[in-house]
Point group: C2
Chain length 502, copies 2
């Protein structure tokens, strides 16, 4: 950073101090004033920490920067107070495990991920690993970069909360157990192994629950408490002449299409059987275990539909209508309760500019399948394999790359009640949402042997996860949105709420 | 070339002089002995010309090296005797037009292309633009490079024939008209315009027919005379949220698949309607104009099936069986008489390593449709558009990038009789084949206002057109195959045969 740009950066940060307050948070609610003041004093330090973190991408899918990413995670954990933070080797990229014993009665688990999704820099308006502060019309000043919201931004805000607590001369009001993985974006293939290590498991068994830092606010300020998350299977379907025993086993001139079968059309025909004409899952047996919403869950959906803004959601997605033209209420129910079959990507033959008259010998579809209770990762894969087999596509390779079971957490768990308390004290009247439509490896905590409540928490807003121009709002235009300081403050409040809730 | 490698190259060339003869070609058949001797004397010169040409790729699809490619084409034409060779500007890449007036009675048109197909160098065992001489097991010494067989190799052999004729103190026995284009590999979008230029049209109207230099021999030495070629439409089908009015208009997190339609599945569903479960064309009205083979054509197919080696064809294509498990005879009939729908490539969303949980807003399929008489380029496109429209895929963009109508040439045209005479005098008993399954813009010559016979001619063998490791056999292991000198000789013989045939 040059002298000039540093001065401008600090100037901007100071000038916007007013905008960074959370007007509807009662100052005395949970966190001592000294800590709140410390958050503001450490703003430049904590934003610089986030900036540096975004600038050092660790991308498991590309095996890029992973060792450096793990070392950074270790350093960040130690600096925030997890003094014993240690590397947990796995068969893949290592996890990081640390504890912070504050001598408190209650212990809280914190789940981090230090990897980020891949990027195509050509699609970004600001370089994805620059972490530039830019103006986003209608949103305010945002940090743009891969990981800004998923998940370095919220995680850095949580770390900033710990620095503020210590900086104000306090101890955290709860003990903490940190478990961070480096393979979340590839489906957490080794995270269960890391969590099952005896010392990690023993530490987590002392926890009242496990939470993941999260920017839970919509652009309009609405905040959501999730009572679980969908599961996911990520996989590739590969059709090839060699495996099929039809068509060519190498790319040949397309004139041969007259006498040779096409592995690409074979894949297309297989894919077409996976969904109904309307696009809903049509894999035999895939959705048998789907549990319909309970009366309580339906009530949550009704309340959410009344609270959440359909126009905002459509604008964010640039989507003129929902699948099957369902209502907003039913679109929300589908987000929480409908399993899905999605094509993430298609690759076959020639993919460059113009055409090239080849008959490709191989075609690949990248899919993700989202799961709801009581579906399982293993059950979904078995259903897909059997479906393809039965329809003459048994030769199409099913190559899973990772995923997890869905999760559910009870609304009366202390973890959830503390979240509701913080949001309500902030005047935000949270939407309680039955299930996050995204996926994370929470089942590792909610399933046996741990059987813990698990969820996401945090104020703030961001977008563009897994997409170009990912951002986190730092200085919001909308006063109902928490900016950076508000997000940090929400974690301080959360820890103090958890310490006192029965 | 270093001193050492040059000496080795020349040494190899000299040592293999015996192998380069065409043992079953009667020495006196058509071409004066002095010209035949001149071919051998100019071997290093003519191979160096081909090598240099391959090393300078002109790829219209990537707009790469096109101006240099046109200049080289002009120089090669002038050096070979087309002294008036001139650039013919078009709305795309320029064509090249030249004439060689030998004061002969008959005039022959020659069609060249100076562009080549794209490459993915990672797929090649020898760099595609190095034009290395390598040993290909079972084939002998081959030149490997993009354009080796399609079409610089055969074209350079034809130019070498003209240099040999002049070098031996002769004039070509027929007048020649050269028309070369630079957009063959993108479907010749402006070639008709070039040919319709008054001076070009007038010159072509003086011709008995137009031929394209071609390596017509199979690996076993069998040579084929084609009485036409299939037509082709190259196009992209694009499904997008924006055009569809469903799904997102930008890539979004795949959790939204629960409430949003998928443009990728929309494309998959559209593609699935284009073929039968067996993979044959199912586009409404597409094949209405298909003319069944006549009795004479069926007799040609029967004869070809008895002559051509099925095992060789399967080995070249690494294909264990033909589409619909048809016989060799019917596989050949499909090559000549069946229209096709081929997927050249598929591209949607994330195409890199591993997965990425996005719901892509856009998906593209690159297709080629091969046409037989009496189908037309315009008719095929109209059928496709109407088919998609009728089935609820009217929003899927149909973006043609080029193509042409099919061609037919009568077996008794002088152009064809001269080919048969040369091959028969060479003891090669040619297979007469109703229609090349590949496509070239021959319809520009066969259709009105020219209405000329058109075809391919030339001895020699190569493979890998449009694929990795494209090659032309220079010094064959199989004595029934013409090597470089044999290919050059075949063009000399052809011109002399054409001059004398009634």
């Amino acid at each position: 950073m040059t002298q000039h740009s540093r001065r401008r950066f600090l100037g901007t940060a100071a000038a916007s101090a007013a905008a960074l307050t959370l007007p509807r948070v009662a100052r005395g609610a949970g966190a001592p004033d000294a800590i709140v003041a410390e958050i503001g004093k450490r703003r430049a330090e904590s934003l610089a920490r986030l900036t540096a973190w975004i600038r050092e991408p660790a991308i498991a899918a590309e095996n890029r920067g992973m060792e450096a990413g793990c070392q950074t995670m270790l350093r960040l954990a130690r600096e925030a107070g997890f003094e014993d933070a240690a590397r947990v080797p796995t068969a893949g990229h290592p996890a990081v495990f640390g504890t912070l014993d504050a001598g408190a009665k209650r212990t809280l688990g914190v789940y981090f991920m230090y990897d980020v999704k891949q990027v195509d820099p050509a699609e970004w308006s600001s370089p994805p690993f620059e972490a530039a502060l830019v103006d986003k019309p209608g949103f305010g000043r945002v940090m743009m970069g891969r990981g800004a919201v998923n998940q370095k931004g919220p995680q850095a805000a949580f770390l900033a909360a710990l620095h503020a607590i210590r900086g104000a001369g306090h101890k955290p009001p709860v003990n903490l157990v940190l478990i961070a993985e480096g393979e979340e974006e590839i489906g957490s293939p080794h995270f269960t192994d890391a969590v099952r290590r005896p010392d990690v498991l023993a530490a987590l068994q002392r926890c009242s629950g496990v939470f993941m830092p999260f920017a839970a606010q919509d652009p309009d300020g609405t905040v959501t408490v999730n009572l679980g998350a969908k599961g996911v299977v990520e996989l590739e379907l590969v059709a090839s002449g060699a495996k099929w025993g039809r068509g060519p086993a190498l790319d040949v001139h397309s004139s041969n299409r007259a006498r040779l079968d096409s592995p690409s059309f074979h894949l297309v025909q297989a894919l077409a059987t996976l969904v109904t004409p309307d696009g809903d899952p049509a894999i035999d047996g895939f959705a048998h275990a789907v549990r319909r919403p309970t009366a309580a869950e339906r009530a949550l959906l009704d309340a959410a539909a009344a609270r959440l803004d359909e126009a905002t959601a459509r604008r964010m997605l640039q989507a003129p209508r929902w699948a099957r033209d369902v209502s907003w209420r039913d679109a929300l129910e589908r987000m929480a309760f409908a399993p899905t079959v999605n094509i993430e990507g298609l690759v076959a033959g020639y993919t460059g500019p113009g055409g090239k008259t080849v008959l490709p010998h191989r075609a690949t579809a990248k899919l993700d399948l989202r799961l709801v209770p009581d579906m399982t990762y293993d059950g979904a894969l078995a259903a897909l394999r059997s479906h393809l087999q039965k329809r003459g596509f048994g030769d199409v390779e099913v190559n899973p790359s990772g995923g997890y079971d869905p999760t559910t957490t009870a609304a009366d768990a202390p973890l959830i009640r503390a979240q509701l308390a913080v949001y309500e004290r902030a005047g935000l009247d949270p939407v309680v949402w039955p299930r996050l439509a995204g996926s994370y490896p929470g089942h590792v905590f909610t399933s046996q042997p741990l059987g813990l409540p698990a969820g996401h928490f945090g104020l703030g807003h961001g977008g563009g996860a897994h997409a170009p121009n990912e951002y986190l709002v730092i200085e919001p235009a909308n006063p109902r949105l928490a900016g950076w300081d508000g997000a940090v403050r929400s974690y301080v409040d959360y820890l103090f709420a958890l310490a006192t809730i029965g």
